[in-house]
Symmetry: C2
Subunit: 485 residues, 2 copies
């Protein structure tokens, strides 16, 4: 083929054609497609197309008659006419009776103007990941997941591979209903469960639902997960910071915001402070929701991991009509799975149904349903809880050893803690000094400045157990660079 | 346990407490949790919580002192205090020194007011699915998919199970780049590929991008897929119907809409008419896009399935700077997979990056990447193409046999065709008469009334081969009921 393709170059050189570029045009055919397999007419089509696109053959150029080209290529005329007619159909060539076949395409600058954007410079990931947000990725239950998928792919009826239900597969919604009742003391039926891809996705959809009923603002814990505040504002709603203290959200402060009718809370383990919403405040918050005809959005992100007691049951179970429960597998399995859910009373579920989002892929939903049903998810949580408990103990011990003057808090549950910094060490300086560590500044979670909020939020979900000591020593080095004595 | 729980009932009856309901309250404990396993203190906690929620124990009621209750239950005092303290933390109970433990919770109507919405009445699916939109679900390559997932789950680095890149996994984007170049003659780099969950999702996101650059309307083929028009309008943009004819979109009509700068087209196989956008119109459309500083959204939904020739290459490849290519696996594998992609020039990709959506779950992306790499996807398409070709032939033959006076069109490609109806048979009447068939009315795809558009759009992707004859006969019956002679 290489020899025959170069014949095209010779052909053009020996058969002068009006346009100047044509005699160089055919050299390219030598390279393009020569090595690739496939039928000749396809290779020729691709070669011609490429030559046209890269302007080796210019707009208006005349191609040799198919008979001549075939003879010079040593191939059938059919192959040439196939190539021509494909490119005619695609618009690269046009054939006019009596005028032969010309290049029609005179595209833009085309690929040449499509300068590939410069890829972001490669940055080596920090050696120690102490930022909150990830579970133990090494502990992802690969075999259980693969088996669950395998089993579901084999068993699923073909009718379930059609248009997916946007609210999620009924079987998973039923299993979640039972699971949530049992493990989170949530009260719901399958009709009130909506599958989504993440808590971010859930909040985005709920903002639309809230807006449809005239709710224009959501009270957010201060400090709180910044990402959700951003999502809320992108959705056109206001975020109103509500202070927290050692007993969680200061519910009495809600009285200072008479028009407020929605709050977003993390009552089982406040993020990032780690406090538990005190019992009397739980009751007060629900009372507030009833009195304002409002709603409480309960982000149940890591309640399963409690080390001092049984997990705290949801607010939702105490008042299903006033609480929307949000959850994803992001902190318990992996954020890469893209599975989350919303449990909402009919009032809000109706809006979610009216503006449906996209549920996770059906086979993934069914795989997770299989894990739920087989008890694999519970087993996984139990295993993780033990692992995190040990890691927390190790981390706290290392911190006490290496940084005896610093206080940690929020350690009773979850996979993050708060490290308070002394006045002479500013968290911003630590962030700058920490090159081998991924860290999170407590201030980053504040919507409004709070000078007292001088600390770091350390995540230990994805911190390898053997690395705990070295990570703490690296942290100490960073702290010392930032002024710690 | 049953015996001891009933002891609580006796206990209450024999130890009068102020509130009237209390003596009945404890009967419930007999049923609840008796059969369920788990430690006693958990069963007791659940039983008490349920009793409180269902108001068998009312707000303000006093519980027996833990010592007494333990004695009567024949269990340790610890189990009782555990149960009490869990419910105190959750807010159901409160403990005041000297006053004992009372029920604090006085929730709303609670679960009783959460009337489960009446489930939609079960409707038997029609016997024959002749509606367009689904590929052959029976042909979903289960083993290949399961193997691909298994293989990826085993091989994936744990670091890839963290926060997913919203634009999609780089490996899949690279493989798609090569695949699209090879099979669709698209021209792109991985940076210009964005993963999404469906073409609907893609259009929704693109509307946001277009609006950011002041584009307020999208020209849509008339007739065209209604769903996308709905999505566009929900996103706040206008849809402008542009007529089609036997050569596809009437590109010259674009001159009647001077402000228009975006069109949505199905050039390889117009949906629903099935026509191919003529070559001169392809060039004209791209010229229009350049002249208006506009964009062409190319929905490449079923181009792989062509029976008369090689698939038509994309418009995108002719002018990557002016065309956004949209695609999902909905028509080639399954809509339940939730995998689609957008190929867009930097101008629009930048907006997509600024307002990221959610990519499909990472493991699914990697599984599909594996299938692409192994050639399994190409093999599947080849197999399907042959299957659809045969089914098309069988369907068209049956239609000619049973309905010799009716014309079909759009049969050269894809998995649907148009059946024109004679004047005396109105498509609306056929839709009413067709009880055993799922059908689609051609008029349903028109944005504006067109009396000449009297026909049905028949999908054969998901029609079982053995059912073709019976489906056509059922169709004929429906047509006769609607007046066909």
């Amino acid at each position: 083929m290489a020899t025959t393709l170069s014949a095209i170059g010779l052909l053009v050189a020996s058969n002068p054609v009006p346009e100047s570029q044509t005699n160089q045009a055919w050299d390219v055919l030598l390279d393009v497609q020569a090595a690739r397999g496939g039928p000749l007419h396809e290779r020729l089509t691709a070669a011609l197309r490429e030559a046209i696109r890269t302007r080796r053959i210019a707009a208006g150029d005349l191609l040799p008659p198919s008979r001549s080209l075939a003879a010079d290529l040593g191939c059938s005329r059919w192959a040439v006419t196939e190539a021509f007619s494909q490119l005619i159909a695609e618009g690269y060539l046009e054939a006019r009776t009596g005028s032969g076949t010309r290049v029609r395409w005179s595209g833009d600058d085309g690929p040449a103007s499509e300068r590939a954007p410069v890829p972001a410079p490669h940055v080596d990931p920090p050696q120690f990941d102490l930022a909150p947000g990830l579970p133990d990725l090494r502990a992802f239950p690969r075999r259980a997941w693969a088996n669950a998928v395998q089993s579901q792919v084999g068993a699923v009826a073909f009718t379930e591979l059609g248009h997916p239900l946007p609210e999620g597969h009924p079987r998973l919604r039923e299993l979640l209903t039972a699971y949530l009742r049992r493990s989170r003391q949530a009260v719901t039926t399958a009709q009130n469960v909506t599958l989504c891809s993440s808590v971010t996705d859930a909040v985005r959809r709920l903002c639309r639902a809230l807006a449809a009923e005239g709710i224009t603002a959501i009270g957010c814990e201060e400090p709180g997960w910044t990402r959700l505040r951003t999502v809320i504002r992108s959705a056109g709603l206001e975020t109103v910071p509500i202070r927290t203290d050692e007993h969680g959200l200061r519910v009495t402060d809600l009285a200072d915001h008479p028009g407020l009718r929605a709050v977003l809370v993390t009552p089982a383990h406040q993020f990032p402070r780690g406090t538990v919403l005190a019992p009397e405040r739980r009751a007060a918050l629900l009372r507030w929701a009833r009195e304002t005809d409002g709603v409480v959005l309960e982000d149940d992100y890591d309640a399963e991991f409690r080390y001092d007691r049984r997990p705290i049951g949801t607010l939702q179970g105490m008042d299903p009509a006033r609480v929307v429960l949000l959850k994803s597998l992001s902190k318990t399995l992996s954020p890469a799975l893209g599975i989350g859910w919303i449990v909402a009373p009919q009032r809000w579920t109706a809006h979610l149904r009216a503006y449906p989002g996209t549920a996770p892929p059906v086979l993934d939903q069914l795989a997770f349903a299989g894990m739920l049903q087989a008890g694999d998810y519970d087993r996984h949580l139990r295993r993780l809880r033990q692992r995190y408990h040990r890691r927390r103990d190790a981390l706290v011990a290392e911190i006490h050893r290496a940084l005896p003057d610093l206080r940690v808090s929020g350690i009773a549950a979850g996979i993050h803690l708060v490290l308070r910094l002394p006045d002479q060490v500013d968290s911003a300086d630590v962030m700058t000094a920490a090159v081998s560590l991924r860290l999170a500044d407590l201030r980053g979670y504040h919507a409004t400045d709070d000078p007292a909020a001088n600390g770091l939020v350390l995540g230990y979900g994805n911190l390898a157990d053997p690395a705990v000591g070295d990570a703490v020593r690296a942290l100490r080095d960073a702290l010392r660079s930032a002024g710690l004595r």
